[in-house]
Symmetry: C2
Subunit: 414 residues, 2 copies
């Protein structure tokens, strides 16, 4: 292979290393890295884009941030001119679960599959340039297989090897039934790679076994073997389970800005860095700065989460939506998070008073102009609602809480 | 079900019991016997023959006596008006072994399959009335199955259940590979029963797992479940392994009478009764008499084997061929089995002498008429060759051996 790399110009070699650094960044595993290097080099030499495969379950069209871990990786390939192959696993979707035991895997109609694919497309377009994506339905080739083909396919793999898959071996040893047809799901997924001659397949670490099957089957059918890139799984809002719709611990890419932001604020502190790294488009430098700030204690976890929420809303909606979501959160969700020890001050002035006068009178600001700036910066709240009008007349009621900046609070009595 | 039997006349009930006694005679197992009784009863009540299935491997057309154990059982069903379904497993034959590891399972062409089926037919006709047999090739339906069908089929069975098959469990535990496609052979065999709606399937005890699969799959596909009749395996000439072509310990139904007879003589004594019981058409009374004779010592094993050989040749050739084979055996193969202590008598008479005179002169027979009867009964041998002509002139040579009956020997010197 050293001969091969000698055909590259030094610029091309630098380009290979540059791409390789991007693709291998933030992943769990590249199997094997040296082959990926060769594929990238060949692609550059022959000006032929690599085919990057991602298989999709047609029954779960709600794309959430867990999916974007892999979408962001696909985007990196796309930005470097490679071709994305999205495969809707409609064949299995149409079969459903033949044992009828799984309610989750119900049989889908053609219309449902089409609809779900469309939904994927819309949601993926938030990350990928969908005009440059190739879409496939695997029923196209899987429905053409007959028993003889299936037997040839099955001859490529041993039962022992299939039983190596974690959930299979566990079920066999604990006496929980594995129906024989379940052995076909990894084989079918792998066969997709044979048909599409994929160069790289992406998958979460829980897909390790299935994604490697593509590599195995390509070899069996005399094709060039795909590279497998395993991506870390993103824990959901509970911080325990993988983000998924069924666990209801997810943030959907289609969710409203306020919901997205609010859900982000609910993640456990220890996940903040991982979320930044895996699902935001911040630069590596920015990500590192946040990570350092958190570990050194100079960045408050809540502030980091607010930045995370704002970043996510900005990515899937807009800058404006992100700002508004933050505002909404601070006005609505920070209610109840007031300090317990707010100093109480008796108000002896008029029962209606301008906000600027009120702030100066209570010594919360040293001047009206300072008070005006503070309001304009969004730093003044009345009963946890942000004050935006510097000329507002405040009606003094018993228990009214004034907040200035993050830490100054006063409760009024009459 | 008691209601059901009440619909039968008492004559019909007797007929049910009569057939049941025949079918269950000499078998290893009937699974389950009570269901067979119901099937037979229904068949009698509705005057509808049962469908009796036997699956055949298209790659081994040399039918041997091991096969006739099951053929004789089929014949019993046929004699009672039921329909025999012979299934040539050509689908698997045409696939061969996709791993290419087994030389034994090479891929067969259509022509080879047809030729082998024809060979089966010819050989089976020695036992069954082939005009009343239905012949099927399972590629007819198996080649029509697509991946979806295969998945539905596979969903009917668990991996644990398949691993219960002796050879699978042994190979898995000893780390010998089981290729996934091997799981399909029992499923395909079982699917044949689904398609043919077989009522009864016959198989050797080594087919226990595969034959029960038909019952299992019929239930899965909502059909009436077949009865399984397991037949004992016939050990081959070595007395150790199951009779099979590959072990070269078999007697083929197409073999020459002399070979058939000679091979039979070579079986170990302890198998004589089993051979009589499983592969001859003698009546139960005759079989029992032989068995008793052997255990009481009144029947010499060699004589029993000669009767066995003669019976087998008579079944697959003719009475005449049987007689000749015995003769040939006694002249050729019994050479060297003469007693060591033959009395030597000096011959002082003519150098040529009539056989009757010779016998009387030597006091081997008391009269010429007695000598004549003995020759006519085949009891006189010269140098181990049976004398059939009472008028033959014997040339006296040194060392000539005369045998009369089983135990009288004389060696002549001049």
């Amino acid at each position: 292979m050293s001969d091969f790399f000698e055909q590259l110009t030094s610029e091309q070699r630098i380009e290979v290393e540059r791409q390789l650094a991007i693709y291998s960044n933030g992943v769990s595993e590249v199997i094997p890295l040296n082959e990926l290097k060769i594929k990238v080099a060949k692609s550059i030499l022959k000006e032929k884009p690599l085919k990057i495969k991602l298989g999709l379950d047609p029954s779960a069209p709600d794309v959430h941030l867990g999916h974007t871990v892999v979408l962001n990786k696909l985007k990196q390939f796309q930005e470097n001119g490679h071709v994305i192959q999205l495969i809707i696993g409609d064949f299995t979707g149409k079969i459903g679960d033949p044992t009828g035991k799984s309610v989750a895997r119900k049989q889908l109609t053609n219309e449902e599959v089409q609809h779900n694919a469309k939904t994927y497309f819309e949601q993926f377009s938030k990350v990928l340039d969908m005009d440059k994506v190739e879409l496939y339905y695997n029923s196209k080739w899987l429905s053409e297989l007959n028993l003889e083909d299936v037997i040839n396919l099955s001859a490529s793999i041993t039962v022992a090897r299939l039983l190596e898959r974690n959930d299979f071996s566990e079920r066999l040893s604990t006496g929980k039934p594995i129906s024989l047809h379940e052995f076909f799901y990894p084989l079918m997924q792998g066969y997709d790679s044979v048909m599409l001659e994929s160069d790289v397949e992406l998958g979460g670490t829980d897909q390790h076994f299935n994604v490697l099957m593509g590599r195995h089957l390509q070899e069996h059918y005399g094709k060039e073997k795909q590279i497998v890139i395993m991506l870390p799984l993103l824990e959901g809002l509970d911080g325990v389970d993988k983000m998924s719709k069924s666990k209801n611990n997810y943030i959907g890419v289609d969710e409203e800005p306020n919901q997205m932001y609010g859900k982000t604020m609910s993640i456990p502190d220890e996940l903040i860095t991982k979320y930044f790294n895996l699902i935001t488009d911040l630069s590596v430098e920015e990500k590192n700065k946040i990570s350092e700030g958190l570990s050194e204690g100079t960045l408050h976890p809540r502030d980091a989460k607010m930045l995370l929420g704002k970043t996510i809303v900005r990515m899937y909606h807009s800058e404006e939506a992100a700002r508004k979501a933050e505002e909404h959160f601070t006005t609505v969700f920070q209610k109840g998070s007031l300090p317990d020890d707010i100093p109480v001050v008796e108000w002896k002035g008029d029962s209606e008073v301008g906000i600027l006068d009120l702030l100066v009178e209570l010594n919360l600001q040293s001047s009206k102009s300072e008070a005006r700036r503070m309001i304009q910066n969004g730093g003044v709240r009345l009963n946890e609602e942000k004050v935006s009008d510097v000329n507002v007349l405040v009606t003094i009621i018993d228990g009214l809480i004034l907040q200035v900046g993050k830490r100054k609070f006063v409760k009024l009595t009459k």
